[in-house]
Symmetry: C2
Subunit: 309 residues, 2 copies
């Protein structure tokens, strides 16, 4: 079975389609319809074996996670994800691996109503590059650069569990229930596309927490030319982080990546009620990231995220 039949068998069988796909896989390019009143949003992410995931993970999870991480970029822009292309580099042709991988891809595409519209399969060290495309009403995409002095800083959910999962990967003493919760958090993050309407209406800036809260919030601060003072006590730490690493809980929540919640800013007139979002601090005129101490003054926080080099 050669490259062409390989692609045909596994990826052409992914059936989830959308009416805005004029034609997808099978030509030199896919042809897509972007509605007149919409902007097109495009983002690309690579996941390399040994860096972003382990080769021995279930291929179902590898595919799902790769796609979920890309969907999160659309969520961060308040866009609706629509189409994705897959560039898959494989060391060998392994039919059972491909079967599981395409099942994970297919289920996640269907769950988020996204069509796979193109791909390229090459031989080489295992890596996955997805390019995701979404749409957003003209001018309503949320950028990193819009945070204003006085805005409240929010995070959309619990932080730290994925970093904790990574720290426990080789630790066999962890109890099974906790491991399941943590690995689910790491392998199947839940991109917050559900917040898109709310963000479009009210958010001044947004980003997804992929590298860690301090690093990602810092991107907002730099793009917006502002600072922030956050209240460490208000960071929503995942309960398992408190259970297993109480002494490093803030470290996990502040600098641990891979949670794929959103961090966003909003004027005080609006409060996200019933959306499970947590106010953690305020945008300041003074640059940089600071933490409020118990006695009221503030100390600088070093933004530390995952660094590839």
């Amino acid at each position: 079975m050669n490259e062409f039949s390989l692609i045909k068998t596994y990826f052409n069988s992914i059936r989830h389609q959308r009416v805005d796909v004029i034609f997808g896989i099978g030509d030199d390019a896919a042809c897509l319809h972007v509605p007149n009143d919409m902007d097109l949003l495009v983002s690309t992410d690579t996941l390399v074996a040994g860096v972003h995931f382990l080769s021995d993970w279930d291929p179902y999870a590898i595919a799902s996670r790769a796609l979920l991480v890309n969907i999160s970029d659309m969520a961060a822009m308040a866009a609706e994800p629509c189409w994705v292309t897959l560039a898959l580099t494989l060391p060998t042709f392994d039919e059972s691996w491909l079967k599981r991988f395409s099942a994970g891809l297919s289920d996640t595409l269907q769950a988020y109503n996204i069509a796979l519209v193109g791909g390229d399969t090459t031989r080489g060290p295992l890596s996955i590059t997805l390019t995701i495309h979404g749409v957003c009403p003209k001018g309503q995409a949320i950028r990193r650069s819009g945070a204003k002095v006085g805005d409240t800083v929010y995070v959309s959910g619990l932080l730290g569990a994925s970093a904790l999962a990574v720290s426990f990967l080789d630790d066999k003493t962890l109890d099974e229930d906790s491991r399941r919760v943590l690995m689910d958090n790491l392998l199947f993050p839940k991109p917050r596309v559900d917040l898109k309407h709310y963000l479009r209406q009210h958010a001044t800036a947004a980003i997804d927490v992929s590298d860690g809260l301090s690093a990602d919030l810092n991107h907002i601060l730099e793009s917006s030319h502002v600072g922030a003072c956050i209240d460490l006590e208000k960071i929503p730490v995942h309960p398992l982080v408190l259970a297993y690493k109480k002494e490093n809980a803030i470290e996990f929540a502040l600098n641990g990546g891979d949670d794929y919640e959103l961090c966003f800013t909003m004027s005080n007139e609006h409060e996200p009620i019933g959306l499970g979002c947590y106010p953690i601090g305020r945008i300041t005129e003074e640059g940089g990231l600071h933490a409020k101490t118990l006695i009221g003054d503030s100390v600088p926080i070093q933004a530390r995220g995952y660094c590839h080099f």
Copy 2:
């Protein structure tokens, strides 16, 4: 210098922009404007070191070629290339390598009026995935599936030189002038975007010759549910192939990849005059690819292209 400053320094400095880029690099996604009367075309291609190029090639050429190969997919659809995202995986941080790579990327983007709108840089074995986006007037993109019985089969230029270049990579006896021409052909292919208006008006099917004429024409035949009979004498073989490999010239032109000319089909009422295109045969009702022999009957040709597995 960490990942973020690395990306900033080299890729944010690529200045070529387009008015249809609402915003590009620096957010979780780029925001783009697709005109109302246009379809969006998307294609993705991965180039892996050791498979599609050699690690010791000039990074300027590696970047240029990666982009040119992607532009060729737009040319094959008769689309205008507009935007590209780059996913670059690098084994180490090598500043002089990155400098040359981004220079090659920048020059090629400018030459074809394409904006770099996003990217991801990761650590791992050297590989490049580009996702290119183009536009085409609604309904005018040329597919592989439209070839009709009786149509003439054309190729847009000389074939075989890139395969010859690959066969001479380690051969030091080749004279310098010939080597320069061949390596130019391999490293800096010329995607035929110049044919887009003509193809939109007249072509019934098109593909770019990336894997080899026989394999790529075969994709058209399978998608269109037709066959073709080609006249081997009429295949435009590159003169250096005739000079160096006269006995295998047809083999090079028929099965050698990487030339990035177009193969297209057109009704006989139209003839591409003055465009440097060569008629090489005819679409037949009988399936498969055949060659006309000197005595008038036809023999089947095995479609053989580059196979990754």
